[in-house]
């Protein structure tokens, strides 16, 4: 086993990895930018090395600086966490060249899965279901032939696409020609390229993914699925395991397919195979993430396995000691990502100082966070403050536990999405598993607090001024004077009358 590991990340995931290392008796090395000197990962690590200015491109993304810190500290391995250099195959390559173990898959596997078209080809070769459609860009004639073959509704997508531009949903044949023309002209003006391809449209899709764990001795296992359909701006906000929307049969099939994909690239470590699923439980390969996932804790809660520790042990050459049929899941886990952002203003980040923080606790409640009273959320990094994870015997138990934990959470100083998360937990459609990836857009009323919630805040605001006035008067008066007992009244009369 390694004696010392460098964590090439920041925020809650760096804290999570540091904790895993400590439990394994491994010494920890943190790296930090100017903006992170006071961050929790620096406070918790055994060693800490400064790597430059706040901008990620000048610190956390500079491979050479990370390698230099590893060498200076004598770390034998680097855990990249997620984001930053975690899916950068040339960094994995560089680590190998420098004789440092990269805790993750091979550079080759990262590269293959990093390219979406290559990844789809690998999936196709492994006979993994893909959303049916044209084989790359098509002519007008080919497009209508493909649409006819795969059946309506279909999506026309710009090859150079992005941001929904050059995209058209076609529900029936009669509209195809005109919508195709529109998609092309939009693509031409947006990207200077009017080539398009055609894909089957998946109605009301759900996002389901399979956690993979593989050792370097050829064993590839899956740790069941997570459902991450509650998203805003194409980013997950609430995740759960298992999915309440799939049958045992689908679960088994999906797990097998994911193992097949991972095996095709000789996968090693922890990874996630993402699928899009329709309401009839037909699922299609989306992509594979070759790193630890933000939402990995829900899988840990239902399987009892520590995925981060296994990543480290696998990188150190250990074999997975269990078989697929030794892995069981129990109960239900939910994760809510707590962000410094404003749900009422299209989830715009809300940087600032967290003047006051109180974290929830209790049985079955896990808060993976990096915050404390006085912590500053800067505009340089992702505004995620915490991942609140709960485990319950059933999904309903887990929802109630999450609700209670969210209500204990206090963050003063910046806007957060906690109120929004509470409203989702109370939502009937969420409770009844009646949702898809369009959930948040469909129910905009969840974004704002209800008006009757204003009474108590107003009372508290009034009391705050009152106690402040009383305190000010206390300071200016002699102790034990009669004045003190009337301070509040006099203080107020002074402010408002004199």
């Amino acid at each position: 086993m390694f004696k010392k590991v460098l964590i090439a990340n920041r925020g809650e995931i760096a804290v999570r990895i540091i904790r895993a290392c400590k439990e394994l008796g491994i010494s920890t090395v943190a790296v930090y930018s100017d903006a992170d000197r006071k961050s929790l990962h620096v406070l918790l690590a055994d060693e800490a090395y400064h790597i430059g200015p706040p901008l990620p491109s000048e610190s956390y993304l500079v491979k050479e600086k990370i390698i230099e810190a590893a060498k200076k500290s004598g770390a034998e391995a680097i855990h990249p966490g997620f984001g930053f250099l975690s899916e950068n195959d040339s960094f994995a390559d560089l680590c190998e060249k420098e004789g440092i173990v990269f805790i993750g898959p091979t550079a080759e596997a990262i590269k293959l899965m990093g390219d979406k078209i290559t990844a789809k080809k690998i999936a196709q070769q492994a006979k993994v279901p893909l959303v049916s459609g044209s084989d790359g860009a098509v002519t007008d004639v080919e497009a209508s032939v493909v649409a006819e073959k795969i059946g309506y509704p279909v999506m026309i997508k710009a090859s150079a696409g992005g941001g929904g531009k050059g995209m058209r949903l076609v529900r029936n044949k009669d509209d195809f020609e005109s919508l195709l023309r529109m998609a092309r002209s939009e693509a031409r003006s947006a990207f200077g390229d009017d080539s398009v391809y055609v894909e089957k449209f998946v109605e009301n899709p759900r996002h389901i993914e399979i956690q993979i764990i593989a050792d370097s001795h050829g064993k590839v296992l899956h740790l069941f699925e997570r459902e991450c359909s509650i998203q805003r701006r194409h980013q997950k906000v609430i995740e759960e395991a298992p999915s309440a929307a799939i049958s045992a049969k689908t679960r088994k099939k999906m797990g097998e397919v994911a193992v097949k994909i991972a095996s095709a690239v000789n996968y090693r470590g922890a990874g996630t195979v993402e699928f899009i699923m329709d309401q009839k439980q037909n699922f299609y390969f989306l992509e594979m993430n070759t790193r630890i996932q933000v939402e990995h804790p829900v899988t840990e809660m239902i399987t009892g396995l520590d995925i981060v520790k296994w990543m480290i042990k696998i990188a150190a050459g250990e074999k997975l000691p269990f078989k697929q049929n030794n892995i069981h899941m129990s109960g239900h886990a939910l994760e809510c990502r707590v962000y410094a952002e404003d749900p009422e203003a299209n989830f715009i980040p809300s940087p600032g100082i967290l003047e006051y923080v109180k974290l929830p606790s209790g049985p079955g409640i896990r808060d993976d966070s990096c915050i404390y009273s006085g912590y500053e959320v800067t505009s340089y990094y992702d505004p995620m403050l915490s991942k609140l994870i709960v485990w319950g015997e059933t999904r309903d138990d887990a929802i109630n536990k999450m609700l209670s934990a969210l209500r204990e959470y206090i963050v003063l100083g910046v806007k957060t999405n906690i109120g929004f998360l509470i409203r989702v937990m109370k939502d009937e459609n969420f409770k009844k598993v009646n949702f898809d990836t369009g959930f948040i857009e469909k129910y905009p009323q969840l974004l704002s607090p209800t008006s009757e919630e204003l009474d108590l805040p107003l009372i508290a605001a009034g009391l705050a001024i009152e106690t402040m006035d009383a305190q000010n008067n206390n300071k200016s008066s002699k102790p034990n004077s009669k004045w003190k007992s009337h301070a509040r009244k006099l203080g107020v009369s002074r402010n408002y009358m004199l």
């Binding site: 809300s350 806007k415 009372i459 004077s481 408002y496």
Partner: protein, 180 residues
């Protein structure tokens, strides 16, 4: 201890204290009445006895008709931030005088507000000073960049709500002006 006659008179007269807060351009009034052994709050026409304790610098415990509530409060000048059940509420305290004037504090062009969460670097003008339209009044820093906030009108600085070094929310009103 000298409690003057005048103050004693105040004590008699003002056993109820009224506060006004602005939230999303609406003004809310509430008053506390000290009935000796209990405090009664009146809000939107309904009266309730309340009991409260300050737990630490930020946290208040309030019990109303047996129901226990915890709220966190942060005061920044005239702005009050309340965190309650996952939601953050921003109130602005409205004085009797402002209210008498109709609470026009936030009526568009006669104010300067922070475009985003930022820190006040420099206050360039004083209260009562004359400004020309487009003249710089406050320098703020956000995302490591300084920018000068300019007066939207020619007139007089009525009030400067912040001082150098303050951290402000996006949208927070920094300066009130009155047009010539």
């Amino acid at each position: 201890m000298e409690i003057s006659c005048k103050k004693t008179w105040c004590l008699e007269e003002l056993h109820a204290m009224t506060y006004s807060f602005k939230h999303k351009n609406k003004i809310y009034k509430l008053s506390f009445e000290d009935e000796g052994d209990r405090l009664v709050v009146e809000l939107e026409g309904s009266k309730k006895p309340i009991e409260y304790k300050k737990i630490d610098d930020y946290l208040y415990s309030i019990i109303i008709s047996g129901k226990s509530h915890s709220l966190a409060v942060l005061k920044k000048g005239k702005e009050i931030q309340i965190f309650f059940q996952g939601n953050l509420f921003n109130f602005e305290t409205v004085s009797e005088i402002e209210q008498a004037r109709g609470g026009h504090a936030a009526s568009g062009a006669n104010q300067i507000s922070a475009p985003m969460p930022s820190r006040i670097v420099k206050v360039l003008k004083e209260k009562g000073a004359q400004v020309e339209q487009g003249e710089g009044v406050i320098v703020v820093e956000a995302m490591k960049m300084e920018s000068e906030l300019k007066s939207p009108l020619s007139g007089t600085i009525k009030e400067i709500k912040v001082s150098e070094g303050d951290t402000v929310e996006g949208g927070e009103i920094l300066v009130l002006l009155s047009a010539d």
